[in-house]
């Protein structure tokens, strides 16, 4: 059996990348003669989630509950997932390559005494089980053998497109409440700061997205970009450099560890086009890159480009739009 960790968003629905991981799991299952795909969810698996996971071909949903998992702890949650894996005798345990996914699979693999492959893009063969994963920030690929059981890995965000199963699964919910050792709860979340208002929904469905990367220069470098966003009725999407530095909130991030967008037009400004960013914007119909570097991957992969400083180009575009609108 293939056990896939499914993460939930604030509304209790499966996050996109978990659905991608389930799609990956189903492909693996098909290659492996139809071994069942089960899911493990920490906390309540509500009706919506059950319907979603059924559509993705999940046979059984292990719903982990109990005091031990009420607050997040890497060791505690991994211990719970590992007891599900033992009970269900999973040969593969996998998750999406989110921060949590990578962390939990690392804990789980260590506890199980096996290897862990982070950010897998594809599998290449079953005997031995061989995967290809991203290394060197995506600039290189690594073929890695996962010959131990369980095989533990995470799937890089947006490496596969989420697609529902041809035959839905039963998605029967099996509640479990594994005992968790006190030592595994020492490092747990004691408080969480009010989340920022999450508007990633509008980013994902926007017809036009204005992108901003390191080239914005700092937290004050977004004025012209936001004006362009406003003029086009667009949404703002940013690179990880921008969210890491705290210039803009995380829900605006586009890429492997952010949202996947598919607008009619994407206008990345001062974004180099790293593979992890590209993973989130590759389905944009048209890309207009604005960048000082004509060799930047975002420029060479774009449909159109303007070479120049975004702090000169963007205000000029804004003026031109306003001039034409009169």
């Amino acid at each position: 059996m293939i056990l896939t960790l499914v993460e939930k968003d604030l509304e209790g629905a499966a996050v996109d990348v978990s659905l991608e991981a389930l799609t990956f799991a189903r492909r693996l299952s098909a290659e492996g003669g139809g071994v069942p795909v089960d899911a493990v969810v920490v906390g309540e698996a509500g009706d919506e989630l059950r319907k979603e996971l059924a559509a993705y071909g999940v046979r059984t949903i292990y719903q982990v509950g109990g005091d031990g998992v009420a607050a997040y702890s890497g060791a505690g949650w991994a211990s719970a997932i590992l007891s599900v894996r033992k009970e269900a005798n999973a040969v593969v345990v996998m998750a999406a390559g989110t921060d949590r996914g990578n962390e939990l699979m690392a804990h789980l693999a260590t506890r199980a005494g096996v290897a862990m492959a982070a950010n897998v893009l594809s599998f290449d063969g079953l005997s031995p089980f061989t995967v290809t994963r991203q290394v060197v920030g995506g600039a290189a690929l690594e073929e890695m053998v996962l010959d131990q059981r369980p095989a533990v890995f995470t799937v890089a965000g947006h490496a596969v497109e989420a697609s529902p199963a041809e035959v839905p699964g039963a998605a029967d919910v099996v509640p479990v409440a594994p005992e968790i050792a006190a030592a595994d709860l020492v490092a747990r979340v004691v408080s969480t700061e009010e989340p920022e208002a999450d508007e990633s929904g509008s980013l994902k469905s926007a017809r036009v997205v204005v992108g901003a990367g390191r080239g914005a220069g700092g937290p004050d470098g977004f004025t012209d970009l936001l004006e362009l966003t406003e003029l086009l009725g667009a949404a703002l999407g940013v690179s990880r450099v921008v969210t890491s530095a705290g210039w803009r909130p995380h829900h605006e991030q586009v890429g492997q560890t952010g949202s996947r967008i598919s607008p009619e037009l994407y206008i990345p400004c001062g974004i180099s086009g790293a593979i992890q960013h590209w993973a989130g914007c590759s389905s944009a119909k048209t890309i207009l890159a604005i960048n000082t570097d004509p060799e930047a991957p975002m420029v060479t992969r774009a449909t159109y480009a303007v070479i120049g400083d975004l702090h000169e180009v963007v205000p000029a575009i804004n003026e031109e739009i306003k001039r034409r609108r009169g």
């Binding site: 950010n119 600039a139 979340v189 969480t192 009010e194 890159a289 159109y304």
Partner: protein, 257 residues
């Protein structure tokens, strides 16, 4: 007072073109040069800030070839005061090997009277990107671990760490001794001062060898992704391109409202 050990790795600079070694087991950094990843630079900075506030010293550790001393000296130049090189070919180690070797150094230092109450690592190495050495190390040492923290402070016997979680900024409070892995962005790594660089040159580097035979990574080989053909149409340069851009907007029908 907390003595802090920071694990830094010498990694090829991947901002320019990446070239593989002949045996396809590693990135050949001879052309692009080598660096310390931003996660680990931030870890060093946090360690320096923590010891400045609580007393104690910052030590740095790397497993790598003799040239990796360069990464140790960079950390010494910004406030670390002791450094250890475990001389080895890091590309022949798997993440479990690295964790075991770091644990061996921590234990040896402790036996020698220098316990590291806090060990900081990067969340993921910029080259191998295994996302796990810090977690494996915590199990080796029987310590709690906080993963992916951007801000870390120590007060008495407690380390407080802040992590950007899926539902907002999470706080962990963990008793020392502990392991914390760091993600870039919470602090700005300082530039080395000239006296800092001078001091760094004089520090004697402790040299060690592997404590056990490595089991090795599960790597078959590295490959490079195929180049992507370019069909880009350049609309112009600088502000002068604005009319062409707005023409394009009109053509695509994204200007209407």
């Amino acid at each position: 007072m907390a003595d802090v050990l920071v694990c830094v790795k010498r990694v090829p600079d991947s901002s320019s073109e990446v070239v593989l070694t002949e045996d396809a087991q590693a990135v050949d950094g001879r052309y692009a040069g080598f660096t310390t990843s931003p996660h680990e630079e931030c870890a060093v900075e946090l360690a320096v800030q923590i010891t400045a506030a609580t007393g104690g010293e910052v030590s740095v550790l790397t497993l790598g070839d003799a040239d990796a001393v360069e990464q140790l000296r960079s950390a010494l130049a910004v406030g670390a005061t002791a450094a250890t090189l475990v001389e080895t070919d890091a590309s022949k180690l798997g993440p479990a090997d690295v964790a075991r070797e770091v644990a061996a150094v921590v234990r040896a230092h402790e036996a020698g009277g220098t316990p590291h109450e806090l060990v900081l690592l990067g969340n993921d190495a910029a080259d191998s990107g295994d996302f796990q050495v810090g977690i494996r190390l915590a199990y080796e040492l029987g310590r709690p671990v906080v993963n992916g923290a951007k801000v870390v402070s120590v007060e008495g016997d407690t380390v407080t760490a802040h992590v950007d979680g899926p539902e907002g900024v999470e706080t962990y409070r963990v008793p020392l001794p502990a392991v914390v892995t760091i993600r870039e962005g919470g602090v700005e790594p300082r530039y080395p001062s000239v006296p800092g660089r001078m001091k760094a040159k004089k520090v004697a580097i402790e040299e060690r060898t592997l404590s056990a035979e490595p089991t090795g990574p599960k790597r078959v080989r590295l490959t490079l992704p195929p180049p992507v053909p370019s069909n880009v149409q350049v609309l112009g340069e600088g502000a002068a391109a604005a009319p062409a851009v707005v023409d394009l907007f009109e053509e695509l029908g994204v200007l209407a409202r």
